[in-house]
Amino acid sequence: MAERSPTSHSLTPYGLSAPAFIVCAVFLAAPLIMVLALSFNTFTMATGIQPGFRLDNYIEVLTDDYFHLIFARTFGMALLIALIAALIGTPEAYILHRMAPAWRSAFLLVILGPLLVSVLVRTLGWAVLLGRNGIVNSALVALGLADRPVEFMYTMTGVIVALVHVLVPFHVLAVWASLRRLDPAVEAAGLSLGASQFTVLRRIVVPQIMPGILSGSLIVFTLAASAFATPSIIGGRRLKVVAVTAYDEFLNSQNWPLGAAIVTVLLVATVVIVLAYNRAVERRYAQVFQ
């Protein structure tokens, strides 16, 4: 294969990219543009969807306390989940890094494998575990840690536990990827220069894997902010998050324009957060990324 020269002006590469381009243009770009247009339409029970260009939906989403609560809950929850995932995922990745290769590949499979299992199945597991008569409650009562079953279903705690479980492998993966690039000789060098294990960790390892920790947290955060299945099953209708609200507007209330405005705000907020975060991280860690 191979072009004759890196600056060839042939049309071949465009031809080769055309099928993928068409798929993405038709099934990604066009729908996103349509949903944007839809969000400026209006809706009433009586008249249904009315075409037009009005900001009503955005005004409602951005000023109504109900939506404030839902957005605050969603992003607050996502933040907490990202934090917890970082706190438990980073040490776990480091422990994996220090394991003998055979154990390491086995446990990598155990920890990353669940990413291939449907989110629904994993959420279901938590529903079983956390239910009123679930195993966690039985254990708590049996151990005398609680005198009555604790309600986890339809609580923030339940949603957070389940989502941490669903998303923490992404964090481990991100940190693991940056640990793999770490030269083992550097750690050994630190130790040989008289640094304690802890000092090596703090002064040599952590700074080098910081990009991995930060990008892992970002991934977990954005996925948590747009999560649908887990909050909707464990959180139910009482603890609505943005994705569940959009689902209800579309499939229950039939208020598509409002739903479209909600997801547009979600998309814009996510993109803005991602870009701002990347910007801040790149500025701070410019040397490490080079």
Binding site: A2, R4, S5, P6, S8
Partner: protein, 346 residues
């Protein structure tokens, strides 16, 4: 007209010119080495000849025919890559037969030619192996057989020996040279190993920063280096900054520090560089210049002495005759004949 002619070849990557106005003419059946330091544009030149890389400017002609519009698969050029580039999913025989298959050579003839080619590189019994089951030297010979079997008009070898150990490398040098003579094929060898270039080539083209700075028979290039770069790149050389103080034809009188001596070459009055090969300097009882041995290094078949002298540090090479070496720190006298002191251009 030469068989292969490169004229004014230029190839830029971004703003840097990897090949910068290269001219070269190779006669039919000739073996020419492109010798130069890493990054001087050797591989790029080869890839332009093979047609993988399009030059920004210049002309490539084979047998008088302009190659610009000819794609690589129609050039009938055999190439051995630095990485061998064997097809990992094909056996040795399939690798060697690939070019014949593309030329729609009939099955029976194909088999015979594959066998011949493998015999030529002495790999007949390994034809059913896969590349990963072969040693580096064997892989390299498969690559050679694959390139030769199509009876190419031109054979291009890109540092084919660089991955081999020293002993195998020396054997393969001779082997490739013999095969090339036997088949009589026009060959260009890329290398940054001067010994390889000296042993194998009819002519050596020394490259520096995308151009050829000198081309000639190995002996000529070695004896009459065009400039300081060539003299240090082809073998070792003592380079002495000196001043021309007198002349008689090509015999110049130069002075360096407190010493005056005679040297061969052409230069205007003023500062010049004089090159003296280490093996052309000898110890003498009387005459010559005074020096002191800093250190003597044992190299097997010869001794290499580093000397302090009024001309600065000098390197001197003596065949190892079994005699006792000169001790470090000893005062000595050294001399050379005026023919062996070369005044360089530039």
């Amino acid at each position: 007209m030469a068989f292969l002619e490169l004229s004014g070849l230029i190839k830029r990557f971004g703003t840097v010119a990897a090949v910068d106005g290269l001219d070269l003419a190779v006669e039919r059946g000739e073996f020419v080495s492109l010798l130069g330091p890493s990054g001087c544009g050797k591989t790029t030149t080869l890839h332009m000849i093979a047609g993988f890389v399009e030059p920004n400017a210049g002309r490539i002609a084979v047998d008088g025919r302009d190659m610009a519009a000819v794609p690589p698969n129609r050039r009938n050029i055999g190439i051995v890559f630095q990485s061998y580039a064997l097809f990992p999913h094909m056996t040795v025989a399939e690798n060697v037969g690939f070019g014949l298959e593309m030329r729609a050579v009939a099955e029976a003839e194909r088999r015979a030619r594959i066998a011949d080619a493998l015999d030529l590189v002495r790999l007949g019994e390994l034809s059913q192996r896969f590349p990963r089951q072969l040693s580096g030297g064997q892989q390299q010979r498969v690559a050679l057989a694959r390139a030769l079997v199509i009876r190419p008009d031109l054979l291009l070898l890109d540092e084919p020996l660089s991955n081999l150990d020293a002993k195998l490398r020396e054997e393969m040098r001779v082997e490739i040279r013999l095969i090339q003579r036997q088949v009589g094929i026009t060959t260009i060898l890329v290398t940054h190993d001067q010994a390889e270039a000296l042993v194998m080539s009819d002519r050596i083209a020394v490259m520096e920063r995308g151009r050829i700075v000198q081309i000639g028979r190995p002996v000529d290039a070695y004896e009459n280096p065009a400039n300081a770069f060539v003299s240090t790149f082809l073998g070792r050389a003592n380079l002495i900054r000196a001043e021309v103080v007198g002349r008689q034809g090509r015999r110049l009188r130069v002075s360096a520090g407190s010493v005056e001596f005679e040297a061969e070459g052409e230069a205007p009055d003023g500062p010049v560089t004089v090159s003296i090969r280490p093996e052309r300097i000898g110890f003498v009882e009387i005459g010559g210049i005074e020096a002191r041995v800093k250190v003597g290094l044992f190299m097997g078949e010869h001794w290499l002495y580093r000397l302090d002298s009024p001309l600065g540090e000098l390197t001197l090479c003596q065949p190892n005759t079994g005699a006792l070496p000169i001790a470090d720190g000893q005062a000595v006298r050294v001399a050379w004949s005026a023919d062996n002191a070369r005044v360089l251009h530039g």
